[in-house]
Symmetry: C6
Subunit: 71 residues, 6 copies
Amino acid sequence: MLTEFDTTLPSIIQVQNLIKQTTPVELKLLTGDVLTGKVIWQDPQCICIADANSQHTVWKQAIAYIKPKVS
Amino acid sequence: MLTEFDTTLPSIIQVQNLIKQTTPVELKLLTGDVLTGKVIWQDPQCICIADANSQHTVWKQAIAYIKPKVS
Amino acid sequence: MLTEFDTTLPSIIQVQNLIKQTTPVELKLLTGDVLTGKVIWQDPQCICIADANSQHTVWKQAIAYIKPKVS
Amino acid sequence: MLTEFDTTLPSIIQVQNLIKQTTPVELKLLTGDVLTGKVIWQDPQCICIADANSQHTVWKQAIAYIKPKVS
Amino acid sequence: MLTEFDTTLPSIIQVQNLIKQTTPVELKLLTGDVLTGKVIWQDPQCICIADANSQHTVWKQAIAYIKPKVS
Amino acid sequence: MLTEFDTTLPSIIQVQNLIKQTTPVELKLLTGDVLTGKVIWQDPQCICIADANSQHTVWKQAIAYIKPKVS
């Protein structure tokens, strides 16, 4: 997938802030899965989220929404 | 995803108006979720919607429709 | 999403005709929802459909088919 | 959606042949719907299928497969 | 959909080999359907799969995976 | 689908590392399927995963997430 990764976009900046602030998040996927944890990194294709026990690299195409647990 | 963000498009303008007028909306997702609240911002990739208790950053790819509660 | 909006395409023209003729339509979405009403406008990203009570701005990515009630 | 419509592609030619030969087809959608009828036209964005009673303009993004009833 | 069809890619070559070797395959779709048969042709948009009784032209967007019955 | 394959991206590198290290992974698909095995190769379009008994070539569009069993 051709992806854009303009680091001035609010949505890209928001995820960067979630990474820096290690904010707990909920990530809802198009499969209906809800992953919880902290965002470790993002790139144009994926977002990586981890909790104490596991690490998921999620394709952005599969994301419905991200919800910071602290807004 | 390569996104276009032509601010002269009716659909972009409509969302901008929903933001300015703080209109309550329903956002139906491809997951079947229905989020309610006010639109806080949009960018080419996402729409952010919030109510009193929570804030969801929704990927546009996951949106089925937006329905202003006041039309 | 990068969208094309070539107004000479049969599918774009058909929707324009549905708008001009205010033809009642059924819009089936990938969520399984069926919206009914008249098409108010289209742009490269969305189709707006309204009935007497409500108005839905539908992202084209979420459309399965449109079915004119009068063909 | 940016679409390509290269009329030398086997898949485009196959649909053109289904149109010319008025072959009955089954069109399976990502919603799970199965539409039956004859293909009336295609463009880069949609395929229009009709039977005696109705006409559906299907967005290509929503198509899983097309199956000629006569192969 | 803008498609790329670089015939040096492993995934394109693999499907070409399945065609040449007439390997029986399973094709799982995003609808949950599993089609079985032999791959007849591919182009940038579709993969055509046939068994003794039927022939399906599958849009690539709808494919989850292909699984050679002989690996 | 137009795909980018920038081998400096974290998500591409991560998959390359999973290949080199033959790390067991779980691959969750948008169909809800969970495939387990080792990643054999990736290209811009697909990821190939195999276990002792079978081999699946998965279209990237169908991937929800990849989860290394050892992180």
